[in-house]
Amino acid sequence: MINLQPYADPKYFVLLLVALLPLMIGLYYGHRLRIYETIVSAAFITLMFTGAKWQQGVALIAYVVYQLLLVAGYARYRQTKNTTPVFVSVVALSILPLVIVKVTPALGPNQSLLGFLGISYLTFKAVQVLMELRDGTIKQLSLGMFLRFMLFMPVISSGPIDRYRRFAQDYEQVPTQSDYVAMLERAVWYLFLGFFYKFILGYVFGTLWLPRLAQAAMVHRGWLDLSPALGLYMYDYAMYLFFDFAGYSLFAVALSLVMGINTPMNFNRPFQAHNIKDFWNRWHMTLSFWFRDFIFMRVTFFIMKHKLIKNRIRISQVAYLINFLVMGFWHGVTWYYIVYGLFHAGAIIINDYWLRFKKKHRKQLPHNRWTEALAIFITFNVVCFSFLIFSGFLDTLWFK
């Protein structure tokens, strides 16, 4: 049986674009061929889970049915009532499969049977719909649209994480001809930029250099097993991580545009960030905005509403800590992901102190292009170091 992993090789792009051609012609003339789009999407999603991966396919179907029941049930309930315990339990049930999938490998040698490629991203989407139903910002939920939103093929495996209302609006409104052509233009640019990122730069950093640097760092060990090679590994890994994932995200955005959907961008020159806060507004943006809106803000409001902490600064510090700790656990239940989360929480808290200090002493502190360059340099190195933690290589170096 054929198996096609999304964006894995040139063949995939050719096959997908040929399959999407009728849809493109339809959109060009102002029609969205819904049935055809559904068939093509279903076919390509099926081909992701054929052969040895069939169990993941079954898990995906079961997962989507489960989330559909939860969301439909809650939407119905929410039309007449609104209590916190019900809301909390529904959200808990919604993230339960993801929790099981993330915790299982930490407990034993096996992966959970519930897992499949993309479960995190689907969970983010489902939880987001539940939250907005609770807030009342989603009033009318169409189950057909919810399914389309959850299973939107270009982004199913790794995001970017779109928002339901934005997606539904795009979907209902077919772009005008000149708008659609402009979207295609962006799509072509993103596609080729993605090729350059993922298949050339990502390949050089990830496939050609990374294994050699890893080997060198394993052989030449100094104090605490540290070495110059480890330093090079750190920067190389950061580059690999960015170009691989940014390339992937560009593909997903490009294919969304081809299908007439303006999926939001995931990266905005993250290594030019001036501080850590700025970095999280540029790196894996749809994820960090999701965490901002549904973890950070919620925690902040919760603390304020229940008057748990009086000091506003302390509130945001606690919220950051919880926010990044959850993000760490989401990446996986290992010490290095959790330390990665805590490291970023620490960095952003220190950064906040600095920003307040700067505000107070604005007159005395210089601000010019050199201080900006210094800020970028420091931020870049802090981020690269955090990625070294994230890479898990220290775990191999120290404990394996």
Binding site: I2, Q177, S178, V181, L184, E185, V188, F192
Partner: protein, 416 residues
């Protein structure tokens, strides 16, 4: 609006056409420099092993294929490539193999060479360590098999037992499954059917693209191994004198095995064995049995291919470092039976040039480490290989027997 569409998609279409053109047009096969060939012949790289261009040009000169696996990388001063280069022998080894390459990889990857090898000579170092219960490991096969070579084979495969056996084994390796065209073709060959017309057309297009890739990219990197050869050449005496070489081999071997009493090269011992690792390996080869293995059938594929090309092949069976075998608990009687079985398979079919070194594992400085030839071992190889490749040889007469593809043979434990 049409104009804008052209502005957007015109460059894409043009780029696609250029790439297709570059891959499908028959490109000229540019000549490689002698320096380049020196380096590539000793590189042990998968690009050389699976490619076409470099091997083709080497064989057009005085290169002779030396098939093998990890021992080829033991490039001490007595390595065949060093001796041949130093003493300007009439032949130069084209090293084919690396750790993990076994019969099936060699069978696939020599396809494009076969027309050139017709009636020629070759040296084949066959390791008993290939003949495990599992045989060729699929992951290693995936690393070394070349789609270019596989497509070449598929286009000439017939309906005989050998080709059907090969197709079954290749399907079991899983790697060719990445190409739908090749996998479907393998199924047909395995079932004893001829390829369909569309399959042939598809394979030919794929083959052309792969050949062009080989032409365009096979020379992008250069191997550093030629430096090892040059370093070895500097240590050798000016004249090709067996007695002087033997004295030097003992001298170098002695100096390089001072860190342990297993007769293992210091570097190898310090990097791979010293300390905890060595203790873990005590008794680790107890229960290793090289007598039952699918490798015997895979090896038969090679024999069949050599016979078909009327090649004269010198086989070499290297020993195991006896101290190491004793330390790890390898059963010597079973090992000897496996060697006997392999020799039977060769002799029965008329392959009579076999240098069996399996009893020499206890000779000093014969092995460079655990299972790999070194110093004196390489010289023992040279005593046979040099006359084989430089003096006239009788034409071989082969009588192939398809029985050696059967499961019954794979599971036979003793012969005679």
């Amino acid at each position: 609006m049409k104009k804008r569409l052209w502005q957007i998609f015109g460059p894409v279409v043009l780029a696609a056409l250029i790439v297709l053109g570059l891959l499908l047009a028959p490109l000229p096969n540019q000549k490689l420099s002698m320096q380049r060939l020196h380096a590539d012949a000793v590189s042990l790289s998968p690009t050389v092993l699976g490619g076409q261009r470099i091997k083709h040009q080497a064989l057009a000169k005085n290169y002779v294929p030396f098939y093998g696996s990890s021992e080829l990388a033991r490039m001490d001063p007595f390595h065949p490539s060093v001796l041949a280069a130093k003493y300007h022998r009439a032949y130069q080894p084209l090293l084919l193999g690396d750790p993990g390459t076994q019969s099936l990889v060699h069978f696939v990857d020599e396809q494009t060479m076969m027309p050139q090898l017709h009636g020629k000579r070759a040296v084949f170092i066959v390791s008993m360590q290939w003949f495990t219960k599992q045989g060729q490991i699929p992951a290693a096969f995936d690393q070394y098999y070349s789609p270019l070579q596989l497509a070449t084979w598929l286009l000439k495969a017939g309906r005989g037992e050998a080709d059907r056996y090969a197709a079954r084994r290749l399907l079991a390796m899983g790697a060719p499954a990445k190409s739908i065209v090749m996998r479907d073709a393998l199924y047909r060959i395995a079932a004893g059917q001829r390829l369909t017309k569309p399959q042939r057309v598809g394979l030919q297009a794929e083959l052309q693209a792969l050949k062009n890739e080989d032409n365009l990219f096979s020379t992008l990197s250069i191997s550093p191994r030629w430096h090892d050869i040059e370093r070895g050449m500097r240590r050798l005496p000016a004249t090709d004198d067996p007695a002087a070489l033997s004295t030097l081999a003992t001298q170098i071997g002695k100096a390089r095995t001072t860190s342990n009493n297993l007769g293992i090269d210091n570097d190898f011992f310090n990097k791979r064995l010293k300390g905890k690792r060595l203790k873990q390996l005590a008794g680790s080869q107890r229960g290793f049995d090289y007598r039952v293995s699918p490798e015997y059938g895979d090896f038969q594929l090679l024999l069949q291919q050599f016979a078909k090309a009327n090649m004269n092949v010198q086989f070499i069976i290297p020993p195991i470092n006896q101290k190491w075998a004793r330390y790890t608990g390898l059963s010597m009687p079973e090992y000897e039976e496996a060697v006997g079985k392999l020799k039977y398979q060769l002799a029965e079919q008329g392959f009579d040039k076999v240098l069996d070194l399996s009893q020499k594992g206890s000779q000093p400085y014969f092995m460079q480490d655990t299972i790999h030839l070194g110093w004196q071992g390489w010289l023992a190889v040279d005593h046979v290989v040099k006359p084989f490749l430089t003096t006239p040889q009788l034409a071989p007469h082969y009588q192939l027997n398809d029985y050696f593809y059967t499961k019954a043979w794979a599971q036979t434990k003793t012969v005679g």
